[in-house]
């Protein structure tokens, strides 16, 4: 298990390195780094100072070393717009995004798995077909368009929920969270549903397909032949088997939730790091873009690592072969 962990962590570091190289190439090689990293309104003296600090006059491999060294120390440049370290600005927005993503993930799992299993157990029933039809809809409506419809219906036409912003937050363990007050929760519902719908459809389809496949297996029939209640057959024998692929997907999807939050946050003016990214792109605040990218890569790679570990805990077959290997 430890060998496996070490190897997996090594792979993850490699992935982060690879992305760092790509970001470096994107920033330093394709564009002129002076343009990318230095405020266009800077004075000649500023430009010279930054050029020297970033070592832009040095050979490329040295520049990469400096970039990496700075990145490791948390220095990903200074925002043109805010005049503060880009990483700090991003980190301030991180809790809002994570709260949104986690709530959305919870919604999509808590609703998606039961619906998917139901549809998988009775694929020909009306309920099963309706669930599948609904999931095609959730799959097909582009995220931003769903968000707009949600605002149109629940905020504009019905007036039940606010159209945007985050509302009141409460501090828990030093983090600002929304879900503890009604005002915060009411601001959270629409964006979270918006972010959840697509993933929910994905989970429904995955759970349904896996349920159908597992249902055909002999061990399900054997479990029934043992006289187990249908409840136990579904909740233990089927569910435990479909959880393996579903957990994998859920984990990977948490990463993409953080990315898709860009869209939801823009539509709902949710003050997370995704909205910050779009604002920064529009304002050409490139240090923030670079910082966002590096942080997101780190988050996604970290999540993938975590998922792999959980996966190996869930599936005894993998656990054994990996421990041997």
């Amino acid at each position: 298990m430890i060998v496996y962990l070490v190897r997996r962590v090594g792979q993850s570091l490699l992935a982060v390195m690879a992305m760092a190289v790509l970001v470096f190439i994107g920033v330093y090689f394709i564009g002129n780094p002076v343009d990318v990293l230095i405020n266009p309104e800077a004075t000649q003296a500023d430009i010279l100072a930054t050029t020297e600090r970033l070592g832009l006059d040095k050979p490329l491999w040295q520049q990469f070393g400096i970039f990496l060294g700075n990145a490791l120390q948390g220095d990903l440049g200074t925002s043109f717009v805010y005049g503060r370290p880009a990483l700090d600005i991003i980190l301030e927005r991180l809790p809002a995004t994570m709260e949104l993503a986690l709530v959305a993930l919870f919604l999509s799992v808590a609703i998606g798995i039961p619906l998917g299993v139901w549809a998988g157990l009775r694929p020909e029933s009306i309920a099963g077909r309706t669930i599948m039809g609904g999931s095609i809809l959730g799959f097909s409506l582009p995220n931003f368009w769903q968000g707009m419809l949600l605002i149109l219906v629940f905020a504009v036409l019905l007036g039940w929920l606010p159209a945007g912003g985050r509302g009141a937050t409460t501090e828990v363990l030093g983090l600002q969270v929304s879900f503890l007050t009604w005002d915060g929760l009411s601001h959270l519902i629409l964006p979270a549903v918006n972010l959840a719908l697509f993933k929910m459809s994905l989970i429904i389809r995955l759970a349904r397909a896996n349920t159908r496949e597992v249902c055909l297996q002999d061990y399900v029939k054997f479990a029934r032949a043992k006289g187990l209640s249908p409840r136990r057959v579904v909740l233990v024998h089927i569910l435990k088997n479909i959880m393996i692929p579903v957990v994998t997907i859920i984990g990977l999807e948490l990463g993409s939730m953080v990315a898709f939050a860009i869209v939801t946050e823009t539509v709902f003016a949710w003050p997370g790091m995704g909205k910050l990214l779009i604002d920064s792109i529009n304002l050409l605040d490139r240090p923030v873009i670079v910082a966002y990218l590096m942080l997101t890569v780190l988050i996604i790679v970290g999540i993938n690592l975590l998922v792999d570990v959980i996966y190996s805990l869930l599936d005894p077959r993998i656990r054994l072969s990996e421990m041997k290997g």
């Binding site: 097909s140 582009p142 931003f144 368009w145 707009m148 504009v156 869209v263």
Partner: protein, 304 residues
């Protein structure tokens, strides 16, 4: 020899796999409706310049007096009826949607073809040569697929700037890996068969073995992945344009039309944003319904 030299040399037998697949596809009425809908949409998009009531980007045809008219209003200048209303600049929304559809489909279609080409070549190469090359390619594919497409596309466009060509490039870059993985996994199954080794012993050129023998086996899964991916491509392009990093304002796709009308949506002028959105959603649903059925029909595991 027969007396009918014109007769086709190989008439498909009634139960050829292709025919069976088509017959099975046709059994699902929803899927057939989806297919018909998609064909109609594609024709409308293709014919846009000839059937649209006006050229929405010829500024001389626009009348600012007609700005933000609701659906069904008649123009102040000409006697033209705006069936789906106009936008703030007095542009006929129906025409704008037809032209936007054209751009959306064109971007998705071109990127699809390019991504399939790149992905297929890479995938077949990896499967055929195997070994180090294979594991290197698959590492790259896995690495890329572990990052969300929208993130990669967004960053690329943030660095490259707006433009139809740049959007296409971004879509190809985020999509080729799906095809490479699909093609490789089907090709590798075929690669293990003895006749491929036999063909290599005969010193047939690599290219011939790869494309004449390995490739045909990859077609069914490729079709399934392609239908899913083209819907994704259309949605992704729309999203990028909505976020303001996609196509330029001079060539608005459906996503950009929706974004332009977004501010007016909340003030009640719903049509500027809603109708392009419906067009976009109908297109994607049609493709997804077809893709869903294709996957069921082409998946041998669920055949009973």
């Amino acid at each position: 020899m027969t007396t009918h030299p014109a007769a086709p040399p190989r008439a498909a037998p009634v139960d050829s796999p292709t025919r069976r697949i088509i017959a099975q596809f046709m059994e699902d009425r929803v899927a057939v409706l989806g297919l018909i809908l998609f064909i109609c949409i594609a024709i409308l998009a293709l014919m846009a310049p000839w059937i649209a009531p006006q050229n929405p980007y010829d500024l001389s045809q626009l009348n600012i007096m007609d700005g933000a008219l609701p659906p069904g209003e008649v123009s102040f200048g000409t006697d033209m009826t705006y069936m789906l209303g106009t936008d703030q600049q007095g542009r006929d929304m129906l025409s704008a949607i037809l032209y936007g559809l054209r751009i959306s489909l064109m971007v998705a279609g071109v990127s699809l073809l390019l991504a399939i080409t790149v992905g297929t070549i890479v995938g077949v190469t990896a499967a055929y040569f195997g070994g180090r090359l294979d594991s290197f390619i698959m590492r790259v594919v896995d690495l890329q697929l572990s990052f969300p497409a929208i993130l990669i596309a967004l960053i690329l466009l943030a660095l490259l700037g707006r433009g139809v060509d740049k959007v296409i490039l971004a879509l190809v870059i985020v999509q080729w890996a799906y095809y490479a993985r699909t093609v490789r996994s089907s090709a590798i199954v075929e690669r293990r068969k003895d006749y491929v080794d036999a063909a290599r012993c005969l010193a047939l050129p690599h290219r011939r073995i790869m494309f004449r023998h390995l490739l045909p086996n990859c077609v069914p899964p490729l079709i399934v992945v392609a239908t899913v991916q083209i819907a994704q491509a259309i949605a992704l392009e729309a999203t990028l344009s909505f976020l303001g990093v996609g196509v330029p304002i001079t060539e608005p796709s459906l996503g950009l039309l929706i974004a332009n009308g977004y501010d007016y949506l909340l003030s009640g002028r719903y049509w500027i944003s809603l109708f392009p959105g419906i067009a976009l959603v109908l297109t994607i649903i049609a493709i997804n319904v077809v893709g869903d059925r294709l996957r069921d029909v082409l998946n041998p595991r669920l055949q009973k």
